[in-house]
Amino acid sequence: MNDVVLQTRGLVKEFGGLRAVNSLDFTLRRGELRCVIGPNGAGKSTLFKLLTGQLKPTAGTIHFKGLDVTRLLPHEIARAGIGIKFQVPRVYDSLSVAENLWLSARSSHGTAGAGAIVDRVLAEVGLVERRASPVGHLSHGDRQWVEIGMVLTADPDLVLLDEPTAGMTHAEARRTADLVREINRRATLIVVEHDMDFVRNIAGYVTVLHRGAVLAEGTMDEIRANDVVRDIYLGKRPRARS
């Protein structure tokens, strides 16, 4: 059990009558690279919000590194070692690229070491020349990089990436895949993606979410061979149910 880094039991989130996350049991081992896929509205982003304390679950528990984090506040969960990249980049538009990274570095590494980390990460995400630009002036793709950079800077144990390649070109998406594998050498990851090429490319273990519950789990090949998944998700024509 020691290598389980994240575990949810009976996790439920209701919005009015809608169960966005429905009795979800989800287990993640240390060092895993897990892809979560599922149709729009499957509850992927809601799951991330529950894991980071932005939403409190209606029922169920979340354990991270053996610690019950179900009722912790967002900043406490972040301090425990979970970092997130939002589906829509959530960065400080009026601040410079360097200041965005510095804020992340200061929280995780303190004031003294922050400067050096910012310089290193700026190089890693290829934004050295834009370090002084306000983030609001950057392209959508570059803003994604800034946010990925903020996650890299914090160096968390568990990294949550919600659609990291949205708005990126093919070349950028390939670079992101490389970066994801690179992050995976230090941290456990959950990546939500709609881009199947990307999912195949990073070759993780795949969880299919449907109506807030796990529909299937397995390698990409197993998932592609799964008729039910094909029906509801991979865009094949629904067959008549028996």
Partner: protein, 333 residues
């Protein structure tokens, strides 16, 4: 570089003013500088913390009454001023604890701070009866608290030296420059940078691992303390406090000073106060029939012409003329 030059100019100007102005003008300018401190306290919490407070007048009043009570009873105005700052900071910390830790929304926060101010107005108004006294200090209801001692220089083993108007002007001017320098250092410190991040996106900042609650609380307490300092100086300047300091008008006036000068600039708080108060005085003496209406009209025009305030407008004009780049984006707002 330019910042240092500006500071040097400010010090020289403050030092030289008593030589060129009349005594009456010096006394007037002293109270304007006291009001500037009050405006500065709002700019810290509103301009940098992003939290609009209508409670600065309350902290100002509490600072003044504490100064009066302690000053009358102890005879020491240093102690009195310290009590004014501590009392106001304490009230702000208490209010901030319940609102920030209770996750009260920005709108409710503004309303709550205004309500507290108006409650103090009511309560202090009912203290006319002589039995409402703290030791020797009678609160005095709407008639106010009188016989508050003037600010004095105190040194151990010496008789206290009551400041004359010019000396008081220097002390207040020195304190204003000191508080300005300290708040400037605060907003540029690593604490201040995180505060700016909270203002821009609170949830994002929490998810980076920062607790916004105590940071807002500390900022608000400092802001309350500065307003309390202003209130104490005000009581020592006029030897008098009354519940009008807790009025709706006073509360709104502080917001107007900061808006006119430019929110989030610190210097703007001072400039806005000096401009608005000079204008008020001028309109009052120029026998304009409807002073308040005329003042209101002028303020509306200023806010419409310079929506970000006078200081950002002047700064922009200077940069256009000199062709300099805008300030480093680290501090862009």
């Amino acid at each position: 570089m330019t910042a240092w030059a500006l500071w040097a100019v400010a010090v020289v100007v403050v030092a030289a003013l008593p030589a060129v102005l009349s005594l009456f003008q010096i006394v007037q300018l002293t109270v304007f500088m006291i009001y500037s401190l009050l405006a500065l306290s709002l700019d810290l919490i509103w301009g940098f913390g992003g939290i609009l407070s209508f409670g600065q007048a309350a902290f100002f009043g509490v600072g003044g009454y504490f100064y009066g009570i302690v000053g009358i009873n102890s005879g020491s105005t240093t102690l009195a001023l310290t009590a004014g700052v501590a009392g106001a900071a304490g009230l702000a910390a208490l209010l901030g604890y319940f609102t920030f830790y209770g996750r009260v929304g920005a709108m409710y926060f503004a309303v709550i701070t205004l309500t507290v101010t108006l409650i103090l107005h009511q309560v202090m108004g009912t203290t006319a009866d002589p039995r409402y006294a703290v030791g020797q200090a009678r609160l005095g209801g709407y008639n106010g608290m009188t016989n508050i001692p003037s600010l004095a220089l105190e040194a151990p083993g010496r008789a206290p030296l009551t400041l004359d108007p010019v000396q008081l002007f220097y002390v207040v001017g020195g304190l204003l420059l000191l508080v300005l320098a300290l708040t400037r250092a605060l907003v540029r410190s690593s604490f201040g940078r995180v505060l700016g991040a909270i203002r821009e996106d609170e949830l994002r900042t929490e998810l980076l691992g920062y607790d916004p609650r105590w940071r807002k609380l500390v900022t608000f307490a400092i802001s309350g303390g500065i307003a309390g300092l202003a209130g104490g100086l005000f009581a020592g300047w006029g030897n008098f406090m009354n519940p009008q300091v807790f009025s709706m008008f006073q509360s709104a006036l502080v917001v107007i000073w900061v808006m006119v000068g430019g929110r989030g600039t610190l210097y703007g708080a001072v400039v806005g106060t000096l401009v608005v108060q000079s204008l008020t005085n001028y309109l009052g003496t120029a026998s304009v029939t409807y002073t308040t209406v005329a003042l209101g009209a002028v303020l509306v025009v200023i806010v419409l012409l310079f929506p970000r305030g006078l200081v950002p407008a002047i700064g922009g004009a200077v940069r256009r003329v000199s062709g300099r780049r805008p300030p480093a984006p680290e501090f862009a707002r």
